[in-house]
Symmetry: C2
Subunit: 448 residues, 2 copies
């Protein structure tokens, strides 16, 4: 079966119906599209660009399988000549992008595609799908990292992520945002992300006694056992762990930690800590999970909890599960373009974002301008593909994670807080405003 992740038919039908019309008219000039977010959800003070590695992989592998072409033919919507022309379709264009992990703000393109029209158009749906999702998750996960900066945060959300790829890529997105790892094994295999795991209630229940379950688990994982203690009574569970740990210590086995997954996590953790400390088990860590989000993490700042399993609300970005984002044509055949739809107007032309920093290294603001118009600051969009091939190589997830750490440090304090602060809005340069008026004037002349 075709893997949807790399299928060219994981696209909107209109991409293909437009390509048919372009084919019929011989229209295949150079098109420039940019991906950006029109505005931020109210619960986000900045976004973290993510998904570029997967976007580049997708572009590198772009080709239609024989059975895909056969399906298109079976729809009766396309001409044979057009379908024939798709056989050798590959991505041959250039891509510029902000490095993954870069904080960005409304109207700032994080990716620009320059390619023959048919290629640049066809890839729209999947490119948006890839960049949007990881950006959504990284931008949510980073808030949890900011809310619990000194704690171990582990992605626990595979089961309620929206499908297989969402599970895999939300592990990646949360890791680059600063999580310590994930429970999703495949993310460890695919991206080299550290994998963590504890045990489920079913393990306890499958045994006749909780204590026996604990012991069996520790004997199988003598140095790495985190025992789930809330199946029946959390404090009683902690006492059993303490007794067990003392006994197993004689055999050279240690209990690494305990997990609490229900009730008032802060209060339970305090009582469990007391039980463990009273037995001299200061080294046994406390791990907590259960519907956590960044606000719950902030509220638990004083609790004696060493690490958190964070699932559903991170993986689905529950309070803002989507962005108002778009992949828009900004130039065709050498002519800048813009759309003027009510409430959805866009800036024309190839653009660049310049970021200004103050003497302390903090971001002061951004300027949005046309490419080639030098502005103060550091340009954020860089070449990542040339002529259909990647340039420079992809940084590892670990490297992106480290880059995010430095980027967070450069954000002004108010943007790093959970509460709403006005995000930066880039200054639009004179050159960009002039270009927009020119494009509008030409459109007026053409009677649009």
């Amino acid at each position: 079966m075709i893997d949807p992740a790399s299928s060219v038919l994981l696209t909107d039908l209109y991409e293909l119906t437009m390509l048919q019309a372009y084919h019929d008219r011989g229209m295949n000039g150079t098109a420039v599209f940019e991906f950006f977010s029109r505005k931020l959800p109210p619960q986000r003070n900045f976004l973290i660009a993510a998904g570029l590695e997967q976007a580049i992989e997708y572009l590198c592998g772009l080709r239609l399988a024989t059975e895909e072409l056969a399906f298109l033919e079976s729809t009766g919507r396309f001409t044979s000549a057009f379908l024939k022309s798709l056989e050798d379709l590959r991505f041959t264009g250039d891509v510029h992008a902000m490095p993954e992990g870069t904080p960005f703000f409304p109207d700032e393109p994080i990716l620009r595609v320059i390619a023959p029209l048919r290629e640049a158009q066809l890839i729209e749906s999947r490119i948006v799908n890839l960049l949007h999702f990881q950006t959504v998750v990284a931008s949510k996960a980073v808030r949890m990292v900011l809310a619990a900066p000194e704690r171990l945060l582990v992605d626990f959300g595979l089961r309620r992520a929206h499908g297989a790829e969402a599970g895999l890529l939300s592990a990646r997105a949360s890791y680059i945002a600063g999580f310590s790892g994930t429970a999703t094994v495949l993310a460890g295999m695919r991206f080299g992300i550290p994998v963590f795991g504890t045990m489920a209630h079913s393990f306890i229940q499958a045994h006749d006694s909780e204590l026996q379950a604990f012991e069996n688990f520790v004997r199988s994982h003598p140095a790495k056992a985190t025992l789930l203690i809330d199946t029946y009574d959390t404090v009683a569970g902690a006492r059993k762990v303490a007794r067990l740990a003392a006994r197993l210590a004689r055999d050279g086995m240690t209990v690494q930690g305990v997990r609490i997954d229900s009730g008032d996590l802060g209060e339970c953790a305090r009582r469990v800590r007391q039980v463990l400390d009273a037995e001299g088990m200061q080294a046994v860590s406390i791990f907590a999970s259960s519907g956590l989000d960044e606000y719950a993490l902030r509220d638990l700042a004083a609790a004696p909890i060493d690490g958190f399993g964070v699932g559903t609300k991170m993986n689905t970005s529950a309070d803002a599960p989507y962005l108002d984002c778009a992949y828009k044509l900004v130039e065709y055949d050498g002519r800048p373009k813009r759309k003027r739809s009510e409430g959805k107007a866009t800036w024309p032309g190839r653009k660049q974002v310049y970021r200004r920093f103050n003497a302390d290294g903090l971001i002061e603001g951004d300027t949005l301008t046309v490419e080639g118009d030098l502005q103060e600051g550091t340009p954020l969009l860089k070449a990542v593909m040339k002529g259909g091939r990647p340039v420079g190589g992809s940084p590892s997830a670990q490297a992106v994670r480290e880059y995010v750490r430095t980027q967070l440090a450069a954000l002004p304090e108010r943007l790093r807080l959970l509460d709403h602060a006005d995000p930066f809005v880039p200054t639009c340069s004179e050159a960009l405003r002039l270009l927009a008026s020119q494009v509008d004037a030409e459109a007026e002349c053409a009677g649009q």
Copy 2:
């Protein structure tokens, strides 16, 4: 590269660490797990069971690839004997489930797995991932169907769905909920779902004139063109379409419809309808899109709009992107089990849901009981796998869609409305209460 959709490693690490411990103790008795939702989001009056077909496919294909075993070995967490035992792992169990498309309520299992412990445990993460997601989307999409019962509804949301599988499976889930089709081409190929498409603003912008863009598109799609008219000025766009349609009619070409994607959709549609009708173009339909959800559809009930493209808010189930659901051990080695964690207690034993209907065929209520305890009504859980093989064959997406239609008709009116109504809560039978007390009494004796 391994397709995450079928990878056994698309699982939480704890499934595997528990299996290691089970292996070490030789624990592999028959386990029974049930999947259910603890409570409904406040914005849902019922849920629609979905995802069963993909769950069965996953179980039928369960096996570890050589490179997956190699990765597990490389982690150093597992013994060679255990990894060796995984080589021939297959799913050999029985599965009972509610048919896809069945409305269900809190605490009602929609799927039960009866299998050797290691199999029933290992599949947890992905089974939840599959059932949860499509249930979330079908339960959202059906609200849109109820809000706009006579309109064409098309899934437009691939780009903001959470990844590749979410795009593909949200097309399926919305179709079975009653949508007319999807824009996602691969969903047409994979599930036989009707595929719809219009055009993007970029198509208009790539041309020097909007009129020329319209004409080029119609000439390439002479019977199936829906023209996007809001790139510059919606009403002016409609006038161009009217002039063009009159001219192309002489060549035997028709314009099927127009699409509006911005502004006040109701007001724009009324003005566009006037323009088209004044030119005798009553047959040209109006299609609208732009951030629609069920409430927007309800507000547009009186607008002259024939169909809607519904995207992001449906595909992400934006107002309730996840369910409080679980896959819980209810029996091991012949003994019923339950969990008593604070706020997360579950009912023990293999259960059945009986649904009662009144003389008009409307649902009166459900009874939750232990399997084998006959109750009034129709039992909802039926065998779908026996000994690891599917029983009876999977209904087509079309058949499930038709079943959903009949199920919606059987819901009481108050549950079909968008506003919050108390959903049914199943009556727990005497037999089930008795079993729960017995299990608790045994646990007390065991000192849990």
